[in-house]
């Protein structure tokens, strides 16, 4: 069992309250996932030629300052960064591949959680309440956010095994359910050059989507083909640079509920997680139909 929550703001005036609105949603799903939690926040976009990465240390008191100094001497590029608990958000005017290669060399134990223009993935072990407090979720701002509370069934409870998983630039995935063909699919995807950090089944789904998107699929085509490729139970929420998407497997054992008002679209595993949202009493509330893609995106920002 796991919990999924997502909040996409249609009304930009609410962007300053994104974290405040989202925090109780995440915490309401504690019963479904008490062992770890995480979220992918979208906002604070970087400009042309820049890339934003979220890095997470796997050891305590990691010296990010020294890493940044080493990175600056290795890549002569303007950069900006800030630390948030065990993670840092790094904005750098360079190619993503160049930065990844440099980080791989300088800090092989540091995990790159996300990369893109907008996305920041923060996650860790502990109750959802502890995670939101650790990273200061309540005061975060942005355009949209998806989150996950985990009750592990398929693999170890670790920071790396918690959700969301990055699936490419500004893309991420959270999952409620379990996949039964992840072992073989992981082998196949490794042969296609996709890297995996864990034995987690969701990471394989994320890797599958990343691979399809690399092959030129649209998000819709990639998700439609995942219905064929993935064997198991799933409700997925997918964060994109401009919005988010929801899809359930054809059997639909795992719950999902959607709500929409003039101000927002919200998604959760259970209605309880939506009950704290303003205007929810008058929202359109419905259950997404199995094997059907729901997607909300605003026009690409310039």
């Amino acid at each position: 069992m796991c919990g999924i929550v997502g909040l996409y703001l249609k009304n930009p005036a609410l962007e300053s309250q994104l974290g405040k609105l989202f925090e109780p949603m995440l915490e309401a799903m504690t019963d479904r996932g008490p062992d770890s939690a995480g979220f992918a926040l979208y906002g604070d976009e970087v400009g042309d030629g820049w890339v934003k990465l979220t890095l997470q240390a796997t050891t305590e008191n990691y010296d990010f300052k020294a890493l940044i100094a080493a990175l600056e001497s290795k890549i002569a590029a303007p950069l900006d960064w800030f630390q948030n608990a065990s993670a840092i958000v790094l904005k750098i005017k360079a190619e993503e591949a160049v930065v990844r290669a440099a980080l791989g060399e300088l800090a092989p134990t540091v995990r790159i959680m996300s990369a893109g223009k907008s996305i920041e993935i923060l996650k860790g072990m502990g109750l959802p309440k502890e995670i939101s407090k650790r990273f200061g979720l309540g005061s975060m701002t942005g355009s949209h956010i998806i989150g996950h509370t985990r009750m592990a069934t398929e693999s170890a409870v670790t920071m790396e095994g918690s959700h969301p998983f990055s699936t490419g630039a500004d893309l991420c995935l959270v999952h409620n359910g379990s996949l039964s063909n992840h072992f073989r699919l992981r082998q196949e995807l490794r042969r296609e050059g996709i890297n995996f950090d864990t034995e987690n089944d969701t990471e394989v789904a994320a890797g599958y989507l990343a691979w399809r998107l690399q092959q030129g699929d649209s998000l819709k085509t990639a998700l439609d083909s995942s219905l064929q490729a993935l064997d198991g139970f799933f409700t997925f929420a997918i964060g994109t640079r401009n919005g988010f998407a929801v899809i359930r497997d054809p059997i639909a054992c795992k719950p999902a509920i959607l709500a929409e008002t003039d101000d927002y679209v919200a998604m959760a595993s259970e209605y309880q997680a939506l009950s704290s949202l303003p205007g929810i009493e008058k929202a359109k509330v419905w259950e997404p139909v199995p094997a059907t893609l729901y997607i909300w995106e605003r026009g690409a920002r310039t």
């Binding site: 639909a252 719950p255 259970e270 209605y271 009493e281 509330v285 259950e287 139909v289 199995p290």
Partner: protein, 227 residues
Amino acid sequence: MKTIDLSTASVRDLNQALHDQVKNLEEREWVVTHPNGAHNLAVGVNEAVSVDIQGHAGYYCAGMNQKASVTVHGNVGVGCAENMMSGYVRVKGSASQAAGATAHGGLLVIEGDAGARCGISMKGIDIVVGGSIGHMSCFMGQAGRLVVCGDAGDALGDSLYETRIYVKGKVESLGSDCIAKEMRAEHLEELQELLNRAGFNEKASDFKRYGSARQLYNFKVDNASAY
């Protein structure tokens, strides 16, 4: 009338109070405010009380109900009125999956839509849905009646026993051993009575009846592929 506000009281407080008082029945009318999607509301009530839930309810609302009349002024989560024995449950909004699952008796009315597996393994309950129902509904339905004023999803009535299914709209597909059947006078009569009891302004003659072809009751090797 007794009001329980779930913004201050717990679900355990509500259910315990409902169970405790039925011995003496001092309160027949109960109102639950601020349910906010909480699970297990008014579960296992076994006396003729009325419970009015003013908002959305979570999983297993009015599960195992006997005799009580429960109205939800909102949507319900998975397993509403599951294993109900008798009584009446009315959902003013829509229901999630497995509404009325395994229930033996009583009447469940859902004014909106119901999700997948509505009436799965129903054993005598009557379910009337104002909207549409999802896939695998009435799977292994043994007794009772399922009435759908909208459409039905894939594999309706798969492995059906003796539940009678009435659908007004389109059926996406029928499950194994479920077939369309003739609507005879006694069926029109029982359907009209159910629609009237549920308070839906519908004509029985607009519906089609589906039931068991009774080919899967006993194992026949010729049917192996149908299992």
